[in-house]
Subunit: 435 residues, 2 copies
Amino acid sequence: MKKPEIRKTVQLGLLGLGTVGSGVYEIIQREARAIEVKTGVHLVVRKICDKYLSQTRRAALPRGIFSPDADALLNDPTIDIVVELIGGIHPAKEIIEKALKRGKHVVTANKALLAEYGESIFGSAAKARREIGFEVSVCGAIPIIKSVKEGLISNNVSHFLGIVNGTCNYILTRMSQDGMDFDAALAEAQGQGFAERDPRLDVEGIDSAHKLAVLARLAFRSEIPFGAVFVEGIRGLSVKDIRYAKELGYTIKLLAIGKRLKKNLELRVHPTMLPDNHPLSGVRGVYNAVFLHADQAGDLLFYGKGAGKLPAASAVMSDIVDIAKKIARNDRTDALTGIRPGTIPVLPMKDLRSRYYLRFQVVDKPGVLGRIAQTLGRNHISILSVQQKESHDQKSVPVVFLTYEASERNLRSALARVDLLDDVTEKTVVLRVES
Amino acid sequence: MKKPEIRKTVQLGLLGLGTVGSGVYEIIQREARAIEVKTGVHLVVRKICDKYLSQTRRAALPRGIFSPDADALLNDPTIDIVVELIGGIHPAKEIIEKALKRGKHVVTANKALLAEYGESIFGSAAKARREIGFEVSVCGAIPIIKSVKEGLISNNVSHFLGIVNGTCNYILTRMSQDGMDFDAALAEAQGQGFAERDPRLDVEGIDSAHKLAVLARLAFRSEIPFGAVFVEGIRGLSVKDIRYAKELGYTIKLLAIGKRLKKNLELRVHPTMLPDNHPLSGVRGVYNAVFLHADQAGDLLFYGKGAGKLPAASAVMSDIVDIAKKIARNDRTDALTGIRPGTIPVLPMKDLRSRYYLRFQVVDKPGVLGRIAQTLGRNHISILSVQQKESHDQKSVPVVFLTYEASERNLRSALARVDLLDDVTEKTVVLRVES
């Protein structure tokens, strides 16, 4: 039998020389030799495309490497791997699909694209028998994709809880540790470069939902319709509730939650109360972490930096080297996406069963609490504890309830009634509790 | 060009059907179909060898699969991967070497063998162009080997701190949380099946040192002479020092510490004081965790089960599937061990610089503390804090010092003098402090 061809050099095309792209380029300049010693593969950046790169930065690149146009890269038959770091759905989707069709492998940081068009992109890759690397798309430097995809290959993941957005975790940490309100914490995060000028993708939970979709598809091996992910951000969160939660022994985190139930998936992003002794409660600042339960491995926790030039580039490099090793050794990629055909149906949010934290703002007079408790009871919501808080406001006092597990549907219909009561002065605050 | 041969079935020989071996066998029975769907590889257990397997258990195996003799497995040309789960240095070493020579790949849980003969085993594998999988040898279910080897491929690891022995961590947790003394906690761990009847490998730190050597070789890409690892176990540890440490805001853990200094490696296993807010301080019971710093990825923490039938088998499966995929796709393994030829010298323990906790037992009379402080000062050891503890013993009171960073050599010569003082009634307790 003829021996498969062995080659050493694998050529890359970098699309996007922003923060992460510069990190990748720098690491390859610095570590290519060490990577060759470790793996036998010699990495070469053949082309860099970036529409928005300044004249100065273009001039600093080696001659012949830069092109403003992605086609220069797609049309170059010597490029083996396209590293897509431009973000956004279009034209990233079209570029990736074209690259795959032309026989190139792809490494991408594009969680929005993978969340919303994952099945299509993975399908195209399988058809073309090419790889898609996306380690960096979830939790940056943490090798969570590799761990789920390869480390836990024989396991069935039953659920995961993730702090997957460093911006939100920074804001929540400042609110919780220093009593800052949301707007001040956000402004500070923006000042520190931890939040975008337009912070909506982060604080509204959409970025977390993207990562949830990418991770859930892999963990549960199901198609994930992005629109079925429930998303609630942290913008409305009051520092008051963070304080009351703390008094009860809980920490509030924005979690991406994925659960495999018997017949359904739970896929939801929302501020969540976690007991202080939960491993995720101690994750502070811009750090990310994923807590995961698998049937054989049991509980696992992964913690690290979710973003930043070199942490993100480290994850991109891991994908590049994995794929480069396969290319160099002539390993044919199989045509498997690992996703089961069809979708495990996502549980409608109203069918969720959860424990709840409820803060009612009520007029401080006899009978009010009784009427609330009665309404909850009629809707099959059992109360675990009640605390009336001190108030500096004469018109209204906060009363905090913790419930036993109840259905979201029952909770919603109870609150619809409670919020109509004359003695309830504000819309009730609801937080879901995980343990 | 001729297309490389693609085959689907990969055949395994299991050596050892103890706890982990049974787990692997069970998982393959249950999950082989799912693994085939995910990877395209069909795993078949072709032979099982176990000298000590009972007649009943032999009879329960499918006909023709069992052999009491490892040669039956080594001589079977249809076996692609030998899974060595018998432990111990001999005959495991000879079996693995024979398997490699005969063109078989190897997956092993044998940390003692890899720690003490790693260079030789990896060298044999590279020469034979065959793989050695050893994910399970460090921290069981945690994919730490894969993460360091592949996830952090472009990084330089600067240091790691690991809780890598569940038995010791269980004992320390009970001592710390419940004030049990060492013997009672050990007896309980034995009763629960968390400690061996002969607990020496665990409580004396040797098992941790084995794992340290395996991880350090990978993280620092250096040969690791096992004899150069400093090892101190937890047997001498007093519940008193655990309590005093707690009062100072520290938790005591048995850590496996690996550091890359400019010219040296630090490789040491010993009870270590960690600030309570360190991520490893919260790791309780039989859980394992590794905290690691890499130049690009930054700080990372991995947490999970270090032992147990299915957690360990999960890690073995991950190696089996990785290797099976390469076999099925005709991917030639390269002849690289990833280890730099030669050894980065290991720092002699006397050259260590560390902060220290010192507990002196002294006669409660004037001048004693002064003489101790003077001796420390003469040996260039600066004192951060001193606390005289209450004592129920009239003859001697405990005095706890925390030092600034000092050299172990200076500390040792200071203590040699202090312990000779008439008013010092016991050998001084020394704990190293990490932060």
